[in-house]
C-alpha cells in the first residue's frame, strides 16, 4: 500500500509537469485555457490523493477549492472575457516553440538535480513532490516570459500558483489557513488581472502588452 500511494502521488505530480509542458507549445488561447483547466483538475486530484494518503481531511477542502475555482470558474470566466473582448485567439510567442521546450526541459532537470540533493533528509513522497512543484513553478514563469499576450500571462501565473499549492500540500502538516490564503491570493490576482485586462482593452483595443510599450513610446 505505501508503495502504491507513493506511485500514484508520483504519477499525478508528474502529470502536472507534463501538462505544464503542454501549455508551453499551445498557440491558441482557447486550447491554452482548456489545458489550464486540465492542469487544475490534475492538481485537485493530486491534492485529494495527498489528503487520503496523509489522512488529512482539511486537504479535501483545498482540492475542492482547486477544482471549483481553478478548473471551472476561472477558465470559464476567461473564456467569456476572450469572447466579450473579441481578443485575437492566436498567441504571439516571443521565443520560438522549440527553444522554449528545450529551456523547459533544462528547468525541470535543474529543479530535479537541486531538490533531490537539497532535500536528502526528507521523506521520499515530499521530496518528489517538491521537485515536481519547483518544475511546475519554473515552467509557469517560463510561460509568462515567453508570451506577449496578457491572457496567456495570466494563465502562466496561475499555473505557477498551482505549483505552489502542490508544494504546500506535499509537505505534511501544513495548516489549512495557508491553502485558503493561497486560494484567495489567486482569486484576488484573477480579479485584479481581469480588471487590468478590461482597462487595457478599453484604452488600446488590444490585450497585447506590446501595445503598452508602444504607448510609452519605446521600442521592443
Amino acid at each position: 500500500m505505501p508503495n502504491l500511494a507513493f506511485d500514484i502521488a508520483h504519477l499525478l505530480a508528474g502529470g502536472l509537469v507534463l501538462i505544464s509542458f503542454m501549455m508551453l507549445y499551445q498557440d491558441r488561447l482557447y486550447a491554452l485555457l482548456n489545458i489550464f483547466a486540465l492542469h487544475a483538475l490534475v492538481l485537485a486530484l493530486s491534492v485529494a490523493w495527498q489528503a487520503y494518503v496523509q489522512n488529512a481531511p482539511h486537504l479535501y477542502v483545498t482540492a475542492v477549492i482547486a477544482l471549483v475555482f481553478k478548473a471551472i470558474i476561472i477558465p470559464v470566466a476567461l473564456h467569456r472575457i476572450i469572447k466579450q473582448l473579441g481578443i485575437h485567439r492566436d498567441i504571439e510567442t516571443a521565443v520560438g516553440i522549440g527553444p522554449t521546450m528545450l529551456a523547459g526541459m533544462g528547468l525541470v532537470a535543474l529543479s530535479m538535480v537541486l531538490m533531490l540533493r537539497v532535500t536528502g533528509a526528507a521523506d521520499p513522497l515530499a521530496r518528489e513532490d517538491l521537485a515536481f512543484a519547483l518544475s511546475v513553478v519554473l515552467l509557469g514563469l517560463l510561460v509568462m516570459v515567453t508570451r506577449r499576450n496578457a491572457v496567456s500571462q495570466v494563465v502562466g501565473f496561475m499555473s505557477l500558483e498551482n505549483g505552489l499549492v502542490l508544494a504546500a500540500t506535499g509537505a505534511k502538516g501544513m495548516p489549512l489557513v495557508v491553502e485558503i490564503s493561497v486560494a484567495f491570493s489567486i482569486l484576488i490576482a484573477f480579479i485584479v488581472i481581469g480588471v487590468f485586462l478590461f482597462r487595457i482593452r478599453e484604452r488600446f483595443d488590444t490585450v497585447d502588452i506590446g501595445a503598452l510599450d508602444e504607448f510609452r513610446g519605446e521600442r521592443r
Partner: protein, 671 residues
Amino acid sequence: MIPGVDQQVWCVAALLGTTLLAIAANRSNKSTTVVYGATLVISLIAFARALSFLVAHAEATEMVLPIGLPWLGSHFRLDALAAFFLAVVNLGGAAASLYGLGYGSHESAPHRVLPFFPAFLAGMNLVVLADDAFTFLLCWEFMSLASWALVMAHHREADNARAGYVYLVMASFGTLALLLAFGLLSGAGVGYGFAAIRSAPHAPSEAALVLALMLLGAGSKAGLVPLHVWLPLAHPAAPSHVSALMSGVMTKVAIYGFIRVVFDLLGPPGWSAGIVVLVLGGATAVMGILYALMENDIKRLLAYSTIENVGVIFASLGLALAFQANGLGLAAALAFTAALFHVLNHSFFKSLLFFGAGAVLTSTGERDMEKLGGLIHRMPLTSFAFLVGCVAISALPPFNGFVSEWLVFQAVLRSPDLPQWGLKIMVPAVGALLALAAALAAACFVKAFGVTFLGRARSPVAAAAGEVDRCSLAAMYGLAALCFLAGILPGLVIDGLAPVAQAIIGHRMPVQANDPWLSIVPIAESRSSYNGLLVFVFITAAASLAVYFIHRFASRAIRRGPAWGCGFADPTPAAQYSGASFAQPIRRVFGTLIFQAREHVDMPSPGDPRPARLTVDMHDLVWERLYTPLTKAVWFFADRLNQLQFLTIRRYLSLVFATLVTLLLVLAIWS
C-alpha cells in the same frame, strides 16, 4: 539628590517638548525668546547635573525605556565619559541659547530654526546617553537630520542647497559605516546592548575592521581628512549659533562615539591602531589649518580650523591607544586627558569665535574678510572677546588652548618609552606635524583677527558697523571667561577629568589639586610643570611695566596720525594688506604642493593703460582626486542602470526569471 541618568533623560524630554512648543508657537513674536530661554535653562540644568556627577565621582546609572525595538527597548546609561561629554554638549548648548536670545531676533526665518534647535540639542544629548547600538544609531541619525534641517534654514541662499546635499550624503555614509561597525561588534548572538558588547571578546581582525569603520563613521562626522569636505560647506551655512554648536559641540559628539566604541566597547586594539589614528590626526591637523589659512570667508576659516583641532584630538587619542597597548597606563592617561581637555577647550573657543563671526555678520552682513576691516573701532567689545578666542585657539598662554596642547606635547615626549620602533619614529614625527599645525594656527588667527578687526574698513558696511546686543556679548564674554579660567586653573579641569580617564584607561593623571600655586605637573616635578597663574601674572606685570615706561618716558598722550601711505597720495582701503597677502608666504611654501597653487602675472606692456593682474589658481586636491572621480563613477553607473526603468513588462519578468534560475543554478553547483 544623586545625579543620575533619569534626570538627563528628563532634560532631553524637556528639550523635545520645547521643539513641540516651537512648532505650536510657529511665527509668534515671542517664540524666539521663549524657545531660547527654555533651552538655556534646560541646558544649564543638564550641565549642572553632569558636572556634579563628575565631581561626585558617582557610580554609573542605567535606565531602560520601553520605546524603540519591542524586544530591546531603549537603554540609557550615565557614566563618567558620558557625563563629561554631556557637560561639553550642554555648556555649548547653554552658550548658544544665550547667544541665540540676541542673535535670533535678527533671524529672517525663525520658524525654520526654532523647532530644530532644541531637537538638535536633544539629539546630541541622546547620542551621549545611549547604551545600546540601536538607540545610539537612531539618536545619531536624529542629530544628523536635525542639524541638516538647521543647515538648510536659509535654503534659498546660493550654495546652501549644495552644502545641505553634501552634508546629507556624508552623514548617511558615516551612519552606514557606524551601522556596519555595530553590526560587527554585536556579531552573532552578542546582542545590541553596550554591556554585552563590552564583555564579549573581539578577534583582532574584527577589531581592526571596526576601528577602520569607526574612523570612517565618526571621522566623517568629526571632520578627519579626507572626509572633512562637508564641514566647511555646512558649518558656515547654518545660523551662527548653530555653526558654533556644530563646530564646537557636534564634532565632539563624534569624538565621543569614537572613544566609546574604540576605547570602551572594543577593548584596547593593538599598537598599530594607535599609529593609524595618530598619523590621520597629524595629517588632519596640518591640512585643516592650511586650508583655513587659504580661506577668506571668516566662517569657513573657522570651520577649517575645527578640522585642525579635531586632528589634534585624534592624534592625542592615537597616542593614548599606543601607550595603552604597551601597558604604559600613566602616559595613556596623560594623552587621553589631554585629548579630553582639548575637546573642552575647543568647544569653548570655537563657539566663542563663531559667536564673534556671527556678531560681525549681524552688524555688517558680510562674511568675506576682504570686505571687512577696522571693526575694532566700531565693535570694541566684540573685538576683545574675539581676540581672547584667537589667542586661546592659537595656544598662547595663559589661555586654555596652551594647556591642552602642552599636555599633548608632554605625551608626545613620552614616546622614547615605547618599545616599537615604528612608534618611536612616528610619534615624534606626528609631534612635529602638530607643532607645525599649532604655529600655522597662530598665523591663521593673526590673519583672522588682523584682517577683520584691524586696519581700515574695506567696504561701506564695515565702516557703518555697530556693536551687537547684550545677550550676544554676554555669551561671548562668558566663554571668554571660561577660556581664561581653564587656562589659569588647569589643575581643576585635569582633576575633573580623572574619573573619565580612570574609567576608560584604567589609570589617571596625578592629583593636581595639592600642587602649590595652581601648578600642574603631568608626570613628575623634575620633568615638567606649568603654572598658568604665574605666566598670567608675569605677562600682566611685564605688559604694565612696558606700558608704564613707554608712557612715562616717550609720550604721554595717544596720538592719532595718518597712516604712512607707502608713497601713494590717497591709498584706498582696498590697497591695505589683505588676508590673501598675509597668507601668500605660507601659500608659496606649502600651497605649491598641497593646493597645486600657480600664480600668473599679467603685466601690461609699457604704455598700456590696463592694470597689472596677479591671478592665483588653487585646487582642492581632495575634491578633485577623490570626490570628483567618485561622483563621476556614480553618475556613470546611474546612467547605465537608468535604462532598467524603461523595460517592457515581459523583460522585467524575464529579469526576475533569469535571476531565479541563476540563483538556483548557483545553489545546484555549490551545494
